[in-house]
Each structure stands twice: as C-alpha cells, then as structure tokens.
Amino acid sequence: MLISLLIALAKILVVMALFLAATAWNTLFERRVVAPIQNRVGPNRAGPFGLLQPIADAVKLFFKEDIVTDRAEKFLYYLAPIISVSTALLFVAMVPFGPEVPSYLSTDNPAWNKFSMADLNVAVLFVFAVSSIAVYSVLLGGWAGNSKYSLLGGMRAGAQMISYEIAMGLSIMPVIMSASSLSLHEIVVAQHDVWNVFRLPWGPVGFVIFLMAMLAESNRAPFDMVEAEQELVGGYHTEYSSMKFGAFFVAEYGNLITISALIVTFYLGGWQGLPFVDVGIPAWLAPWLGIVWFAIKTMLLVASLVWIRWTFPRPRYDQLMGYGWKVFFPIALGNLFVAGVLIYLGQHFGIGYFG
C-alpha cells in the first residue's frame, strides 16, 4: 500500500514537473509559431533558438516590483492568482497521457495504474468542476484590484462563463453516451476503432462546439474579452504586477495545453495512434508510444489554437453570449438528440461506428 502510494506520488511529481516545464516553454512555442505567421523572427536571442527565453522571462518577472494598489482588497487580491495557478495545475490532473503503465510501475490500486495522475470514474465532472472554479480567479482578480478596467474584465468573465458552459457540457454528452463512462481513460478506449471526431454526423459538430467552448473557457483569443488589451488595457489583471501578473500567464499557457489535451482525449482518440502505424510495435514499447502519440496530437492542436488566436478578430461579448445561447445551445442539443438516436440504432443493429 505504502509503496503503491509512493509510486503514485512519484508519478504526480513527474507529471507536474513536466507540465510546468511544458507551460513555460509553451510561451516560447506560441511566440515561435506566431512569428512566421506574422513575417517575424520571434525570440531567438536567449540561448539557441531562444530556448532560454522562458527562464529569462520568469527571472525577470520574479525580480519585478510587486505593486499592491492601496485600494485593493488585499486578501482576495492575493487569492486570485493563487486560484488561477492552482486550477490550471489541477486541471491537468485527469488527463490520460497513455494507456496502462508497464508492470514494473503498477500498484495495487487499479485507478493509479494508468498514465495519468489518477483514473477516476468521475473524471469528466472533476475536469469541469476545476475549470468552473478557475472563473473565480478572474472574477475575484477583477474585483479585488479596485480598478474600473479590471472590474469590467471580471464582469465579462461572468458573462462569458454563462454563455458557453451549457454548450460545453452538452457537446461532450454524446462522447459520454458513446463510452458509457465518465472516466477519461475509458473514453479514450472507446475510441479504439473510430475517433469520436470521425463519427459522422455528431462527432465533428460536437468537436467544433467543444473546441470553441474550451477556447472561451481558457479565455483564449478570439474569446479573450476579459483581458482585451485594446479595450480594457488588460482587463482583470490590469492591477497585477510582478509574478502575480505572471501567475495569470502561467495559468493561461497551462490551460492552453490542458484544453488541447482534453480535446484530444474527448474527440481525437487520446493516446491512440493511427491504426496502420501501430502494427508490429514490441509490447514493452507500446505504452510509451501512446505518450508520444498524445504529445504529438496535443502539440498540433496547441499550434492550431495559436494559429486561431492570431488570425481572428475578437467578437464583442454580447455577441459571444448570442452565439452561445442562440446558436451553440440549440445545435448542441440537437446534436445530442441525433447522437442518441444513432447510438440507439447502432446498438440495435450492431453498428459500432455510431458509438
């Protein structure tokens, strides 16, 4: 029991260290990806290919003056970035990076024997619960700073949250129906034959809605109204400086990875590789190969999200609310119905394709 727990904790430390490193270098990744899009070079001074840039940025932020405005509500003011980073790190806890761990890493608790921190049977709920708490960091951060710009940013966070969360919940319902489980591992396993995104017609529709909802969830452009430099000067983090400001960025870039990982998990087959490539892989390598597949898919998705960010203008947030309630909600509901009928028919006639 103790050894099992130690293995589980060691796994957590490894995952967390890798995730923090990935978050830091994700800032560089975004800047290097966007540079050619904009005919620029991107950061290339600190170290080879600018690889030391994130370290330089972090050191700089730590040594910056830490300003707390005199009107700020101190406790909440400090709490907001803590919530922000904590939820971003917690968000990744459920993500399945690979299949069953090899036997030399296994424990006596089956839930810990996966390439993820833990394989819970309510993982989907956990993920959405954590992501909902993340909204508090924006709301509290916006309110505590006692600046009108950050207040407006905080208010927008509320508006944004109630616009997309329902569509988000509905858009993954077909996935849960198809997998008959809330465990992310089983959702991935259920996509062994067909990735959910290829399950016409409900797969692509759900994928697109879920992608947009997730973008809004993580306040990524084009849905970055809470931040909106050009309108709100930075929105909820206007009054933050030093690493407290950096904390929101850690959260943003960590969330970018996590939402990509979740989209991969729900719709793009998770750690499953392309079927024809998996032939003839030795058994000892297979679990580790899953991680590679997962990393490749996630990175491609992160790059696509960066691409989206730097291509589209920002809608107004009443427009986002309009999209969320008048477009995404009915479509997601209809999609759910279609998926229900098709999954029923598929079950009835033994067609696995529909789910």
Binding site: P81, V85, A111
Partner: protein, 123 residues
C-alpha cells in the same frame, strides 16, 4: 473508491503550496518595493481617479444568469443519463431516449418562450 482520490488530494496540497509560496509568495519576497502614492493608485489611464470601482454595477445579463442556472442543472441531469444510456437501451429499448426527449422538450418550451420574450437579447 475514495482511496482513488488520495494522489489527487496530495497533488492539491502541492499545487496550492506552489501557487501560494512558489509563485505569489516568492515574488513578494524578492521583488523590490519602492511605493509612492502615484504608483499605488489604481489604473485610470494616467489621470486622477474619478469615482470608485466599488459602486453599484448594473448586471445587464442578470436574466441570462438565472437561465444559465436553470439549464446548467439540466446539463447536470444529463450526466448520469448519458453514462447509463447504452444500458437503458439494452434493457428498456427506446424508453431511455424517449424519457430524455420529453424532459428536454419541456425545457425547450421554456427556452423558446424566453427567446421570444427577448430575454436572450442584451437588455
């Protein structure tokens, strides 16, 4: 199993420690501090403060906020249903789907009503 959550619980503690101590606390410790009155005043685009951000703030999306709670609860009801959807089909045929369609239809009537009433419009 509650035991499954044990690593997550330890992770939660670790995460809060890192966020509070490693990120927010450390920058507080090692960052310089030279406060001046101007520096400590909230951002107001470079002019003296006008009014306070703590005033009353009209929430224009108040009605939508209430609708959100309503429909979010609907989504919560979907979760257990979705998990056992296939079992329902196996045991009761179309019953599971039909039940949910009826449930959704009732809510849909309300949804269309508020849409017609203009509650989904801004203000």
């Amino acid at each position: 199993m509650p035991g499954d959550f044990l690593p997550i619980f330890f992770y939660l503690l670790l995460v809060i420690a890192i966020a509070a101590g490693g990120i927010v606390g450390l920058s507080r410790l090692i960052g310089p501090r030279k406060d001046t009155a101007e520096k400590l005043s909230p951002y107001e685009c470079g002019v003296p403060l006008v009014g306070d951000a703590r005033g009353k703030f009209p929430m224009k999306y108040y009605v939508i906020g209430m609708l959100f709670i309503l429909f979010d609860i609907e989504v919560v009801f979907f979760y257990p249903w979705a998990v056992i959807f296939k079992d329902l089909n196996k045991d009761f045929g179309l019953f599971g789907l039909a039940e949910m369609v009826v449930f959704v239809l009732i809510l849909l009537v309300g949804y269309l009503y508020v849409w017609r009433k203009g509650a989904l419009e801004w203000e």
